[in-house]
């Protein structure tokens, strides 16, 4: 290290740059960690394309013939039939039909997965839209105007997100029962909006703070009203921030389990409380669970990669910007 010091002024890298060897070791350790932590995720995908006997064989199988049975079982309910009955049926109409018949079963109808998944989509997108709309307005208000007690209001808004969900769920459960919002998509949407709006306000305030006031002021001198300036000048400038915030809200609502498991049971149930209840004959149908988990996780994977530059900001409520 000390020998490098004298030449550092002209060298390609400064004294504080790590040596190539230490870099390689650091890289190897980080890559090792990444690979180990990705094993459970790889295992989810592999299990989803295993047949049920392959999924529970010991030692765990890494090489196997891929099967669509998990995905078929995820989307259907099946009943057991005698081989004679199945032999008398017309030829199978699709892959799932054929796979099911090999197990001496026939497809009885669709499972609840698709409606539950649809609920997740509706509730997540609906609450995100509401939270980001409300959050953008409030963030602009806090960013541009002298609001009395602004710091206290902002703390109040954030603190609502910190509350333990089970503790909140008790009165919400009673309130929704009174209002007829129990087990409704609207009820869940409002609840997730309330939880997400705190994140949206904090994140968006940071993004809007970064847009120079001069832009709106110039627009207002040109004859725009404050509202026009907000819609035509500030909003277009804040698009990236709004998109990032929306993805964070979407991920929260998509992943949420505590409220969903306590406040929904049937028509408004989302995917997270549903997936653990997927059972086959003789216990949990792991390939079907893995298939449901895979389908459920893929959107998050895509969003995480899209968001990677904004992640830090999102998880610290906009405080750390890199």
């Amino acid at each position: 290290m000390s020998s490098a010091k004298t030449s550092s002024v002209t060298a390609a890298h400064s004294v504080v740059e790590p040596s190539p060897a230490s870099r390689r070791i650091a890289g190897a350790l980080v890559i090792l960690y990444a690979l180990v932590t990705l094993v459970p995720l790889a295992w989810i995908f592999l299990t989803s394309i295993k047949s049920p006997p392959d999924s529970i064989s010991y030692p765990p199988k890494i090489l196997f013939t891929p099967s669509l049975e998990g995905y078929c079982n995820l989307f259907t309910t099946r009943t057991r039939q005698t081989p004679d009955y199945i032999a008398a049926l017309p030829p199978p109409s699709g892959v799932c039909d054929a796979v099911t018949r090999e197990r001496n079963m026939v497809i009885a109808g669709p499972s609840n997965f698709l409606p539950r998944f649809t609920n997740s989509l509706i509730i997540a997108f609906g609450s995100t839209f509401l939270a980001v709309s409300l959050g953008t307005l409030a963030a602009y208000g806090f960013s541009r105007f002298k609001v009395p007690l602004a710091d206290d209001l902002l703390f109040f808004i954030l603190s609502t997100r910190m509350m333990p969900p089970i503790a909140v769920a008790i009165p919400i459960y009673l309130m929704y029962r009174q209002l007829g919002l129990s087990d409704t998509a609207l009820g869940m949407m409002l609840l997730y909006t309330a939880v997400n709006v705190s994140l949206a306000v904090w994140l968006l305030k940071g993004f809007i703070d970064e847009i120079p006031r001069e832009y709106e002021e110039a627009a207002m001198i040109d004859g725009y009203t404050r509202l026009q300036a907000f819609f035509k000048v500030v909003l277009p400038q804040a698009t990236t921030g709004i998109a990032a915030t929306a993805i964070f809200c979407l991920i929260f609502a998509w992943n949420e389990y505590a409220f969903a498991s306590l406040l929904t049971s049937g028509s408004a149930q989302t995917a997270p409380p549903f997936i653990p209840t997927i059972i086959g004959e003789g216990g949990q149908d792991w390939p079907a669970v893995a298939a449901g988990t895979t389908i459920f996780l893929v959107p998050i994977l895509v969003f995480t990669i899209l968001l990677r530059k904004q992640l830090l900001r999102g998880i610290t409520f906009g405080a750390v910007r890199k």
Binding site: S8, S14, V15, A26, G27, L29, V30, I31, T37, L38, P40, L41, I44, T47, S57, Y58, P59, P60, L134, L137, F142, F145, K146, L153, F155, I157, S159, T160, M162, M163, P164, I166, I170, P171, L174, M175, L190, S198, R213, Y224, R226, I251, N255, E256, Y257, A258, S261, L262, P272, I275, P276, Q284, V289, T293, L301, T304, I305, I315, T316, V320
Partner: protein, 322 residues
């Protein structure tokens, strides 16, 4: 605001006090800034009042009664502070608090040590570090419930990958690796999944901390011939400390109210060995239906989280100023 001002002095005031743009309101058409500020902020506050604060006050009221949600028509009696004294004198509640404390302590310790080490290694900026960092971040974005549920499969002693891997490395028979069934192992099963999931969170914030340290400080230390060890403890750690504290506080709050993962992995069992506060609360509120008593418990948890949140926001603002 000030009707007697002529346009010129209005403009001057405008230029002089950017932070208080009220004078603009006298000049622009449409709504005054104050009206817009309240119009923008009020919907958010109203939603939070309806979905968070009103239920909170309802819970406070319930906590002084013997109300049971499964008997809505029974007479509700005011029991004063009875619920609180029973909560605070209940050995089961204290046991659940102790379980929570054990869980919070170990997850934070492991996540901070591993997360900081990873951040330090990534900060060596080896080739491809951005790509591997993104991969490492994936687990923290996923649904703790859905992924936690799949970990039950990994933990299966007969067929699970985890038991197989541990047995392969250590030679312990897989039948002895009852991660979820053994009273000594079950708490660690949860700590492992939580650490797997949330170490990336701590890593990301620590990385921001490390990157916020300007190079010239290290250059100065090199000139003073400070050893790398000394540099690490006198520069790196103290300067990254506010960021580490932020991550620790946030993980502390989140794990204090942990519900999803524990509910799906062990449901509080075996016995009550993994019954953290949220699980105990859920059992009391939604299985025993002791709504009044569980509301008192919820309020006690609120106060604890509110205190932590207060410290957290102070830490956020401290980091923000850098």
């Amino acid at each position: 605001m000030t009707a007697s001002h002529d346009t010129f002095s209005d403009k001057m005031a405008d230029a002089a006090v950017r932070a208080t743009p009220e004078p603009l309101a006298t000049r622009v058409r449409g709504l005054s800034d104050r009206a817009i500020a309240w119009l923008f902020i009020a919907p958010t506050i109203a939603l939070l009042l309806a979905i968070n604060i009103f239920p909170l006050f309802w819970a406070i009221w319930l906590s002084f009664t013997n109300f049971r949600a499964n008997r809505p028509n029974a007479a509700v009696r005011n029991v004063g502070l009875d619920n609180y004294s029973r909560i605070l004198n209940d050995p089961d509640i204290w046991a659940s608090m102790q379980t929570t404390a054990h869980f919070v302590f170990w997850t934070i310790l492991l996540q901070t040590v591993i997360g900081f080490a990873l951040a330090w290694l990534i900060d060596r900026k080896f080739r491809g570090h951005a790509f591997w960092t993104t991969l490492i971040l994936i687990p923290m974005m996923l649904s703790p419930a859905v992924v936690g549920n799949f970990w039950r499969f990994l933990y299966e002693p007969q067929i699970g990958l985890f038991a197989y891997a541990v047995s392969f490395v250590s030679g312990i028979p897989t039948s002895d690796i009852q991660m979820l069934g053994n009273v000594h192992l079950a708490p660690w099963a949860i700590i492992i999944v939580d650490t797997w999931m949330w170490t990336p969170y701590v890593m990301l914030i620590c990385l921001a901390g490390l990157r916020s340290i300007p190079d010239y400080i290290y250059e100065a230390a090199e000139v003073d011939r400070a050893s790398p060890w000394r540099q690490f403890w006198s520069i790196t750690v103290p300067m990254a400390l506010p960021f580490i504290m932020l991550a620790v506080l946030f993980r502390g709050i989140e794990n204090f109210k942990m519900f999803d993962m524990v509910n799906l992995l062990t449901g509080g069992g075996p016995g009550s060995t993994t019954e953290v506060a949220s699980i105990a609360l859920k059992r009391d509120a939604f299985e025993a239906w002791a709504t009044g008593r569980s509301s008192a418990f919820a309020i006690v948890l609120f106060v604890a989280v509110f205190g932590l949140a207060n410290i957290y926001v102070k830490a956020l603002n401290k980091v923000k100023q850098r």
